[in-house]
């Protein structure tokens, strides 16, 4: 009772001070705050404000710490403190009081306390822990307002680790009678799902309940969770598509209470949410898409009012239509809709129209064509954001014909732009376009010059290194390479002659390297002049030491012969006092090399040999030494991560307080033990041959001039090198063009029509140059950029492969040539889309009108010829070529879509099979039940069927099927009783694995003496030696009696390993590109035949490895982790043991594999 009185008393002043009408809110603020705000507005300078706030904060500090301050006063103080924080002054001393206020205050004060907490603290603040108890208490309060406040604060900030403490209470609120509480509880769970998804995994069933809530508001909140979950794994929620469609239909049809209307549009937020969910579910899924065509059509139709909110819905609708499986009629409507956006006088709509166009042109380039005039207007728009979006659009429609004008526009924008983020982005895009579509060398170099000067030192570091790689690797035509190099040298000399003090360091480095490498190609240039310019650069102020090092490397290359001894001496002298050890050392090298021309020629041969210098960067010549040491009892080398692990384990056990000295010893042993090629690669960086920006490192002086860099510190190379990626390597012969044929191909295939050079002011003309190549001849919508020119600069890497397989392609006739090159161009077009197969047929259709127009060129004609000849199986085309051409249509020529696309098909096929054959009734005799895999799986390699668990009603077995793209875990359920089981549902989880349920995990009924299969595809994201999976089967023997049968099992890395098909050469390249390595001695199997062969075969059988080659006492083996990286093994017989050296880009994969190798050999 006294409690009540007290509360009334404390509330009394509030009653007096406040007006109960919310409309009169102005009066309710406390006078102190008003006073503070007034005085601040009266101030004239920032300094005065600072003084005033400091005073204010001091006063607040005094008061909050005083024991006499009441909660009511505290509330008022808190508001003032919040105000000060908003002005940018820290008031951290009140944080703890905010928590206290939330804890101890009455509802009125609690509300301010919670607000203050959510404003002051962020998710990771340690004080938040103190809030947990308060929240717990309030969640259990009978006062609805308190519960609401607690849920509100929980969905804003809550410490992740403490979620389990309040989760049951929040869950309980899902069945609260009040709609508002249920809604907030769902949102709180959504928040938990975002920050700690595994904490709420077990309550997915409750999400479904929330989705079916009778209150639309609660249902709407649950959609946030569903959107998130579907984004992560659309496959598991396909069954809900129908429900979402129904909900959307009801919403669109105006079936919701009027409360949900917004400006007389029914529940727009809900509509947009649903449209998003549907587009995710319908993506690349025709059957799902078909379910939603009608409702999407209706949404388009209903949203006709001229108001932002309807446009918001329309925009989402259009996006959904273009995301799901296409339907012509809807696409047409959507395209019209985009047109309305683009043509709208409202700038916001115009922007969105452009954004939608950008999204859509990949599917339908024609749409851009329709709006070309608008696009051109937007290009000159005064608002930069519109311009920027327009450029983005143009970027997507660039082809060989319009590249110059588009790049010019982009560079023009770059010159005006001062936002770093945009610059980095655009510079990268220009460089990409320039490399892909450059019409000639001159243009390419000049464009890149602008890119380097504008992008400056902001740009991504791989941009200059890619550029240099282009030079280093060369393209397919030597003459063209030479021209490019010569032009670059010319251009750079001109740059250096001018004022280069303002140029970015990266640009100067590029210049130095190119001059050092190629200036001697140019006969008419005085080398002295080049040297003079480089020397000037070296001595120039404001040049970083990194750049100096590049310049000095270039000088070293140029100074050959005795004539330069003097210069070298001079440089060495001037740099001998440099503080930079690298420069000092390089100068010393220069000095020595210039004196000994023979040594110079050996170290820096010129011209750099086109074939690779054999450099044993793996230091295999030390293998014997290592094995000897191992045999003599030395500890095997452990990679740092393994040591780290062991270290932490040790730490956990020992109670030694100081573990800090350990990392130091570790680093020193890295240097001595590692014998790593990275050491070499560092030094080759210094020698300037590196196309990577040099890491300025220690004093190693090996000069590896002319070595083709295929390794990098962090494995930088694989990016554009098809030969290094396991996928492309599988069928190298498909991307082959033999060197001498290239010549022929190039003469017979002139470059795409040269860009009309004149640029008129006329927009029409601009339009025609911008949109050239998008017109009728390429109108097939699925192809996007079909005409796609053969990119000018093809990386040489491919030529390599051609050498090994040129035999096959040499037999091909001329017509197959052109078919090859056209397929190439398909590839380039097709790569942007993800529909590798369909465009090909289309292209044949659309070629005809082209020819009818008379604008065809020889290339297209010959394509026709070849395609028909292929179809007819004409004698000129051998079966082999046919295969080659066909497969290369699907395969990427220098990109790596090869396997994915194939695999995708396969997996689709297998899924279809599933659908046909399910539920599978096994052939069985009436008495003995033998569980068997479905027939289509039996052909795949698989393990034995192992029983996992059973109870009187059900037995669960499992079988691992080693599919090429994933591990298929097949669970076989068998009902040994006579009675049927109802509502059988299987759940499987494993934290370390990526799991996806294919089919069969939910069944309405499992008849007596029947069995059923359910399948999961599993992928291992990161290597683990072993992972455990757990799961459960729930079923009902009779309505209401749910049984749960848990099961668990183990999987090992070996299940996720697949052979990697490489040949020796590819293996060698890949080996050099990886640096993580592990060495270990293994048992050598003796008894019968060659021990090495026997051991390797044993490993191959148990671990699915691919033996690449066995040469004498050495063997090389390759495999890869599904979805992970490759792992290479190099084995060498040493005495009675097998010295194994593993390399993989995945740090822990070698260890895992070694473990399994050891086990496999022991078991043998």
């Amino acid at each position: 009772m006294s409690d009540v009185v007290e509360k009334t008393l404390t509330a009394l002043p509030a009653l007096l001070a406040l007006d109960s009408q919310p409309g009169a809110g102005k009066l309710s603020s406390t006078s102190r705050l008003r006073h503070l705000i007034r005085s601040i507005t009266e101030l004239t300078s920032k300094h005065e404000e600072e003084k005033l706030i400091k005073k204010e904060l001091a006063a607040i500090k005094d008061q909050v710490s005083s024991p006499n301050t009441t909660m009511r006063q505290m509330r008022e103080l808190m508001v003032r403190a919040m105000y000060c924080e908003m002005l940018g002054y820290e008031a951290d001393f009140v944080y703890i009081h905010a928590i206290k206020l939330a804890q101890q205050g009455t509802v009125l004060e609690k509300r301010v306390g919670y607000l203050a907490v959510s404003l002051f603290l962020n998710e990771n603040h340690e004080l938040l822990l103190l809030l947990v108890n308060t929240v717990l208490k309030d969640l259990q309060s009978t006062n609805l307002i308190e519960v609401c406040m607690a849920l509100t604060v929980v969905s804003q900030i809550f410490p992740k680790d403490m979620i389990p403490a309040i989760l049951p209470l929040v869950e309980e609120k899902l069945s609260h009678p009040k709609e508002i509480i249920r809604r907030k509880a769902v949102l709180a769970l959504y928040k938990f799902y975002l920050i700690a998804p595994n904490q709420v995994q077990h309550i997915h069933g409750k999400f479904r309940k929330a989705l079916c809530d009778k209150d639309p508001g609660v249902m709407m909140s649950s959609l946030h969770i569903y959107l998130q979950m579907i984004k992560e794994n659309p496959a598991s929620y396909k069954d809900l598509t129908g429900s979402f469609v129904t909900i959307l239909r009801q919403v669109v049809g105006g079936k919701l209470p009027l409360d949900f209307n917004y400006h007389s549009v029914p529940a727009p937020w809900l509509q947009i949410q649903l449209l998003r969910i549907l587009s995710l579910l319908g993506r690349e899924d025709q059957s799902m898409s078909e379910l939603m065509y009608d409702v999407l059509d209706e949404s388009l139709r209903r949203a006709e009012m001229n108001h932002n909110i309807t446009y918001a819905i329309l925009y989402e609708c259009v996006k959904a239509i273009y995301t799901i499986h296409p339907k012509a009629e809807l696409l047409e409507k959507a395209a019209r809709c985009i047109g309305n956006f683009v043509l709208s006088p409202k700038i916001n709509l115009k922007y969105l129209g452009l954004k939608a166009l950008t999204y859509v042109v990949q599917h339908d380039a024609n749409l851009a064509l329709q709006h070309q005039m608008t696009i051109i207007e937007c290009l000159d728009h005064s608002d930069l954001i519109i311009k920027r979006e327009t450029l983005e659009l143009l970027f997507r429609i660039t082809n060989a014909q319009n590249v110059t004008i588009i790049v010019e526009k982009m560079l023009g924008f770059l010159r005006l732009c001062n936002d770093d983020y945009t610059i980095i982005d655009l510079v990268g895009k220009v460089a990409e376009l320039a490399e892909k579509y450059a019409p000639d060398n001159e243009w390419f170099i000049q464009t890149m010059n602008v890119v380097f000067s504008l992008g400056g030192d902001l740009m991504q570091p791989d941009l200059p290194s890619n550029f240099l790689r282009l030079f280093a690797d060369g393209s397919e035509s030597e003459e063209q390479d030479r021209q490019l190099k010569l032009y670059a040298v010319d251009s750079y000399l001109a740059v250096l002659k001018g004022d280069c003090s303002h140029l970015p360091q990266r640009f100067l480095q590029v210049i130095s390297w190119v001059l050092g490498e190629y200036s001697c190609l140019k006969e008419d240039v005085d080398q002295q002049e080049v040297i003079r310019l480089l020397k000037k650069l070296l001595e120039q102020r404001g040049v970083s030491s990194e750049t100096r090092s590049w310049a000095l490397s270039a000088l070293t290359k140029l100074c050959k012969g005795p004539g330069y001894a003097e210069l070298a001496l001079e440089l060495a002298e001037s740099l001998s006092s440099s503080l930079d050890t690298v420069l000092r050392q390089q100068a010393h090298e220069l000095c020595l090399l210039s004196q000994d021309s023979q040594l110079h020629a050996r170290v820096l041969p010129h011209p750099a040999p086109s074939d690779n210098l054999e450099v044993d960067s793996s230091l295999s010549f030390l293998d014997g030494f290592v094995s000897d040491a191992l045999a003599a009892g030395a500890a095997p080398y452990k990679p740092p991560h393994q040591r780290q692990e062991e270290l932490s384990q040790q730490r956990a056990l020992s109670l030694e307080p100081y573990g800090l000295s350990l990392p130091v010893t570790m680093s020193s042993c890295t240097l001595t033990d590692r014998q790593s090629p990275t050491f070499l690669s560092m030094s080759s960086d210094l020698s300037g041959n590196s196309t990577e920006l040099s890491h300025r490192t220690g004093a190693n002086t090996l000069m590896l001039e002319g070595v083709k860099r295929v390794w990098g510190k962090d494995g930088y190379i694989p990016q554009k090198e098809p030969s290094l990626t396991p996928a492309a390597v599988d069928e190298p012969s498909d991307v082959v063009q033999s060197p001498d044929q290239q010549g022929a191909a190039e003469t017979s295939l002139p470059e795409p029509e040269p860009e009309p050079p004149q640029l008129d002011q006329e927009k029409q003309q601009l339009a025609s140059s911008l949109f050239v190549g998008l017109g009728s001849q390429n109108s097939m919508s699925l192809l996007g950029k079909t005409e796609v020119a053969v990119p000018r600069f093809r990386r040489k890497a491919r030529q390599h492969e051609s050498a090994s397989t040129s035999g096959t392609s040499e037999s091909s006739s001329n017509s197959s040539h052109s078919s090859r090159s056209t397929t190439d161009s398909f590839l380039y077009g097709g790569l942007l889309e993800e529909e590798p197969a369909t465009p090909i047929q289309n292209s044949y259709h659309t070629l005809k009108p082209t020819i009818a127009n008379g604008s065809h060129d020889a290339r297209q004609h010959s394509q026709m010829v070849s395609s028909t000849s292929e179809n007819e199986g004409a004698a000129t085309v051998s079966a082999k070529e046919d295969k080659q051409a066909n497969s290369s249509q699907i395969l990427g020529s220098d990109m790596v879509i090869v396997r994915p696309s194939k695999l995708a098909e396969e997996s689709i096929v297998s899924q279809r099979n599933c659908s046909k054959s399910l539920p599978v009734a096994f052939p069985h005799s009436s008495d003995s039940m033998v569980l068997q895999l479905p027939s289509e799986l039996q052909e795949l390699p698989h393990s034995d069927v192992v029983s996992l668990t059973s109870d009187p009603h059900l037995s669960v077995s499992c079988c691992r099927v080693f599919r090429e793209d994933a591990l298929l875990l097949v669970l076989l359920l068998f009902n040994p009783t006579e009675t049927a089981l109802r509502d059988v549902a299987v759940e499987l989880s494993c934290e370390e694995l990526e799991t996806a349920s294919l089919r069969g995990n939910v069944m309405e009924c499992l008849e007596g003496r029947k069995s059923s299969v359910c399948r999961y595809t599993l992928l291992m994201e990161r290597p683990h030696t072993q992972v455990a999976f757990t799961g459960s089967v729930s079923y009902q023997t009779q309505p209401g009696h749910t049984h749960i049968l848990p099961f668990s099992g183990k999987l090992s890395t070996a299940d996720f390993i697949r052979p990697l098909m490489l040949n020796t050469e590819e293996y060698g390249k890949l080996w050099l590109s990886i640096s993580n390595d592990v060495k270990q001695n293994l048992k050598l199997l003796t008894g019968g035949g060659d021990p090495l062969r026997a051991t390797l075969n044993a490993l191959k059988d148990s671990l699915q490895l691919h033996i690449v080659d066995i040469i004498g006492s050495e063997g090389i083996v390759a495999c890869h982790l599904l979805r992970g990286g490759p792992c290479l093994m190099h084995c060498r017989v040493h005495g009675a043991s097998l010295a194994v050296w593993l390399r993989s880009p995945l740090p822990s994969l070698p260890d895992c594999l070694l473990y399994h190798c050891q086990r496999a050999l022991q078991e043998h």
């Binding site: 009125l108 409360d259 917004y262």
Partner: protein, 146 residues
Amino acid sequence: MLMQFMLLFSRQGKLRLQKWYVPLSDKEKKKITRELVQTVLARKPKMCSFLEWRDLKIVYKRYASLYFCCAIEDQDNELITLEIIHRYVELLDKYFGSVCELDIIFNFEKAYFILDEFLLGGEAQETSKKNVLKAIEQADLLQEVN
């Protein structure tokens, strides 16, 4: 749909309200606020209400002397965000009775309460004007009866 943050500031660049839905350090918050206020104020009235800023999309709108400014992710719907701002302004207007900047300055905690009732954790929680205000008024009333 997740909103990253919402800022209210005056034409003079004074911050009036800030709500962060993603965890950021105070230093970052201040930097972002400073940069954004500058960028938005520099824009001309007829310009587009959307901005690309770092990897985010900024959606802003001016109401009288106040700028309302939201950050969303690139793939989010800009127009609906604009309507979220508008609905918030409507709510403030209804609650305060033709709201002006001063209302928000002097009663900023009320403005926060309304925002929290409307958007929870960056997502639209209750879009009905009536229901939001009902919830707020209930809390207001309960305080005094208690």
